[in-house]
Symmetry: C2
């Protein structure tokens, strides 16, 4: 019953042109999205900017779309997945660091008391990240991330982390790319934590992944060059840092931006202040049953100021519970 | 006579596949290159990495090629063009800076004594760059660069700077892209000095331009977000900085790299140490008549250590005088 209605209402047509050959498609490009304002606004925006000859037309080279990662493309609860990776690394590395048994935040972590470990706030997190992310080469770190993702399971869902990506957002990425958009990740997460898997999971190649980073140093080892990861923050890609990084890496203003928290606010402001027709969207976590429900008071992925800004500016707000038929790719529709 | 020989010897075939339709081309993709080892080595490398099923085949996503800019894609004598831009900016801005009449390096510059101004070395250059490149928004700076390029003429050739790009290298860029390569600039020059024009001149979009940068700051001005350029160096993209920047921006090792100076050496080492079949090339400035001749002793674009490294590693070395039929696009063949 549900399915029939969907097929009937979604006979929308988009076309991709190769040379002189136009292929018309009448299938729904966003089948995991329920009908409603959010879905309509996306489809309408894409139709407008791709319509040649119209006032809103944007040339393909300028169709830049930026996506936050944690909470926008995959889940981020009960804490950022990269932090869960770091906690696992602390356990692996503990035998090389006997001093950790008496030293916070490591001592608490090794006793299994994550809450106590994180009481040191940002400083504690930075210490954990530097101890677990630096000191190796870029090649070694890539392999550590890949190996971890191949076996690690989420503490609540018991699924591999890369299966906790949002199916509606995967469809949105593909829909935008089919319409000439170049899709980028602009995340507060570590750039080298994401790059080993974003191409396979999201179809986003490493050179379109922007994130926080630590410094690296070029060295010759036995006649071969390596890049060594240093325990020193290079760039924190959050809040005001996001437009700064977009300018640094991409060099032009996006025309579409997607986020879920106040950390994405400046990216959305920067994107929707451009001269072109633009599109800004917030994903709201409203689904305690299929995912998590949190916003103004969450320490992870807080969305507070952004709610008012979205209303004031007419940005699209996705209500996960209402707007998404499924959350994860393996969920049953 | 010359032309007949060229046409006869260059019946090489490459194919581009769109869907199931293969287009065979028998035209020479590098018509401004004389036959010889340099040209052969390029064509052979591209044939190998694009041959499906062969051991050397590289999937398109990994066909990353990085190019230095100054001295590799356009000229850099009698000094870097960006420095000539900065000197012009000093004159424009002088009326707002009465203190410059007594302050080096500005005082010498305003007297027309560039040599004396640059006697302060790197420190003097940095002062000139900060005084002329910072203090505006990214949007304002883009316009300043565009306006300057539209009218400025090179002091020796009296040509617009964007006409002093190397025609053989434009062909090389196009040839690589036609074979599935993604072409990047990795330059010691300023990232925001290059981005306003590289797409039009080289076909390289801003997001594939990497360079030195100053810091920027996000600000709301009258309710609209801007990025303000600060007089503070963010990253110097030269020597060891080039592989660091390649990793930071692109996130994977290139399989081809092109440079002309010792400043490009680490980029070439990094590229040609990868596991894939790779290609490294130095352009040597040997043509005092059509361009400039300089290498081991030049303060601009010094190529000294790189010569020995190229020999030891079997990298391709282009002799401009011998290998290039023409230098600039408007030159007569």
């Amino acid at each position: 019953m549900m399915k029939i209605r969907i097929v009937a209402t979604l006979v929308l047509t988009y076309s991709v042109t190769f040379g002189s050959m136009a292929i018309a498609q009448t299938t729904d490009p966003l089948p995991s999205w329920n009908d409603g304002k959010a879905k309509e606004s996306i489809v309408e925006f894409v139709a407008k900017v791709t319509k040649e000859g119209s006032a809103d037309f944007v040339p393909p080279a300028e169709r830049i779309a930026t996506f936050d990662n944690d909470g926008t493309l995959w889940s981020e609860q009960p804490m950022y997945f990269q932090l869960l990776f770091a906690l696992d690394r602390v356990k692996v590395l503990a035998s090389q660091h006997p001093e950790w048994t008496d030293k916070e935040p490591f001592a608490s972590l090794l006793r299994g008391d994550v809450k106590a470990a994180l009481e040191g706030g940002e400083h504690a997190i930075l210490e954990i990240v530097m101890a677990t992310h630096a000191g190796n080469t870029t090649e070694e770190f890539r392999k550590i991330v890949q190996d971890w993702l191949a076996t690690a399971k989420h503490p609540v869902t018991e699924r591999p982390y890369t299966e906790m990506v949002y199916r509606p957002m995967l469809e949105l990425l593909a829909f935008l790319r089919a319409n000439g958009f170049k899709t980028f990740i602009v995340s507060g997460g570590g750039i080298e934590f994401m790059r080993p898997w974003t191409e396979k999971i999201y179809g986003i190649p490493p050179e379109q992944v922007i994130g926080s980073s630590i410094k690296t140093k070029f060295e010759m080892r036995d006649g071969l060059p390596v890049l060594v990861r240093l325990p020193e923050l290079d760039f924190f890609d959050d809040k005001e840092g996001k437009p700064v990084a977009i300018n640094q890496y991409i060099g032009r203003q996006p025309i579409a931006a997607f986020g879920n928290s106040d950390g994405d606010l400046q990216m959305l402001q920067w994107t929707c202040a451009g001269k072109r027709l633009s599109f800004c969207l917030y994903v709201r976590h409203t689904d305690a049953e299929r995912e998590w429900a949190y916003d103004r008071k969450s320490s992870i992925g807080r969305l507070d100021k952004g709610i008012g800004e979205a209303q004031a500016n007419g940005w699209t707000v996705v209500d996960m519970k209402q707007d998404w038929k499924v959350v994860y790719p393996s969920d049953k529709q």
